[in-house]
């Protein structure tokens, strides 16, 4: 590994850390903007003043804001995220297992979506102007415009209620029954992967079309390099660069959109627990959920950039 690459990686790691620190400041400031005492907000109008005072002290909301922030941050390094008012337990213990449930849905959906999307996008670019291209472009345009929750509902309607192939909603832990787990996960995974597939189809198609026009492709063809080799070595490799770049943020977007899928299919993942937090006005829980997602996005982007640096020496 060259020193240039190491330097680039070091710089990117520092940048990611700064981003995360700003995210913590950002979400913490936002929580402070919620009017009223968080404990009183959760307990509601029926709570007595003593109750509110007791719990406010218990959860440490009576300390100065800066102290609260610092204790939150130092807690993060020890693997704690503070206490959730609504769940009455440690936030990390609530969120981290749920993150695994979410990822078990997002990662397969992402892999399926990216592979199929890139493949079809390249196919469309290769057959530009033909009916294959029109068909693929049509589906990708519709695919990026469909609300995911609606698509999920249509899946439920057709595959669940009409054809009775798959369960409409619910979740079974994988350790209890892997077969049943898969049955419940197929539909959410398909629905999520279709969205990703559509956006990668568009991206792959336009990126491939961009590359096809390049001089080095013409040169390679003129030199008599066979077609397959031109497609793979000269076109695909360069066309993949912009695709790889957006992978990190797309994966993050997908984790974000699980809020919709998990609410619809009643899956106890990170998104549904955050929605519970919002409806219970337990903002510390929500803020930590946002933080986990943004750390995930930052890590994905970091990995992508490092890969990118290895693949493409120009970026170092």
């Amino acid at each position: 590994m060259s020193s240039n690459l190491l330097k680039m990686i070091g710089k990117r790691i520092v940048q990611s850390c700064i981003t995360i620190v700003i995210v913590t400041l950002f979400v913490f400031t936002l929580i402070q903007m919620v009017p009223g005492n968080p404990v009183a907000n959760y307990l509601g109008a029926t709570a007595s003043a003593e109750q509110i005072e007791y719990y406010t002290h218990l959860y440490g909301y009576d300390r100065p804001v800066a102290v609260q922030y610092i204790s939150w941050i130092t807690g993060l390094f020890r693997g704690t995220m503070g206490q959730s008012i609504s769940y009455q337990s440690e936030i990390a213990d609530i969120l981290l297992p749920r993150l695994l449930v979410t990822l078990s849905m997002v990662v397969p959906a992402f892999i399926i979506g990216v592979l199929l999307g890139v493949f079809l996008g390249i196919l469309a670019a290769q057959k530009r102007g033909s009916w294959v291209d029109s068909l693929i472009s049509f589906f990708s345009n519709i695919g990026v415009s469909i609300p995911m929750f609606w698509l999920g509902m249509m899946g439920m309607l057709v595959l669940g209620l009409k054809l009775h192939i798959l369960p409409t909603s619910g979740y079974v832990p994988i350790e209890r029954d892997p077969g049943d787990w898969l049955k419940h996960m197929i539909m959410p995974i398909i629905v999520m992967s279709l969205g990703v597939m559509a956006s990668f189809m568009r991206l792959a198609r336009s990126s491939m079309l961009e590359v096809i026009r390049q001089d080095y492709v013409t040169t390679a063809k003129a030199k008599g390099v066979d077609k397959k080799s031109v497609t793979i070595k000269h076109q695909l490799r360069n066309a993949l660069i912009p695709i790889v770049t957006v992978m990190g943020s797309r994966l993050g977007t997908m984790v974000g959109s699980t809020v919709l899928i998990e609410s619809l299919f009643v899956i106890p993942g990170l998104g549904s627990v955050m929605m519970n937090g919002i409806s219970n006005r337990d903002f510390m829980l929500v803020a930590n959920g946002v933080l986990i997602i943004s750390i995930f996005v930052a890590v994905c982007n970091l990995v992508v950039d490092i890969l990118y640096g290895i693949i493409d020496p120009r970026t170092r």
Partner: protein, 309 residues
Amino acid sequence: MEKNKKSVLSRLRSSRIFRVMFGRKLIVVCSVMLVVMFLLAIFAPLAAPYDPNKDDLYNVLKGSTAEHLLGTDSNGRDVLSRIIYGGRISFTVGVVAVVISSVIGMALGLISGVIGGAVDTVIMRVMDAMMAVPMLILALFLGAILGQGLGNVCLAIGISMVPGYARITRGQVLTVRNADYVTAGKLCGGSWVRNTIVHVFPNCLSANIVTMTSSLGGAILAEANLSFLGMGISPPTASWGAMVSGGYKYLSTQPIIAIAPGVAIIIVVLCFNMVGDALRDALDPKLRGTLGKGRKREKQSRKGRDRYA
């Protein structure tokens, strides 16, 4: 004389953009659809056959009939009328959120690019941090803190889209900043504020206009998502996302309640995306000459090109 020449040139240019954009029939269809949907939303009281919020408990969950083309929901409200009124919310949120995000984003991008230094670093790091949070989650979080209501939904979605505009504008400023006409402006003794507004800003616009068109669809989709999650416009106001969510319970008996508003969302978002793409292609100088000849001629010219390629 000089001015006249310029206006003729700019007219030619805009007509070329116009020609390229509307050269494809599909884009014309999409534009017409958008205009129709927009007019329906504006003139909803005239267009809608029923009051969208009037409960009619004698006609609950009726399927498609002659009186109610798309049936009625669980409160006996006419689904078609609610879809027509729901367009008002979608278009309002779309436009307002895009205006909020573009104004704040462009201002931040300009400040960042023009002033540079520490200000630039701080602004762009904050934008990076906002971008690390997926847009839906950011809008959801902001919406939860701000509370329900049309204004807050617009604000939440608007703020969550700010970083995109800030980045694009800053990038444009950096390329334009050292152009000759900006230097000339400086030499003429214009203040940096004047220079920024008169010379730098207009040259950042075209990239932003493209983003605006395509993010209209995104904002409408975001509103639908928030409303579906129950974090959008408060009931009983009709909103497409909330209507789909309300139809969930009747999916097995009256699926049309959930299907119809979803189709409305798809049509509007799809049309905005298509028009946005067409606008981008039309404004992209790299594609100049390859588009706007109509499909047939484009195909022919491609064939010609491929023969040599």
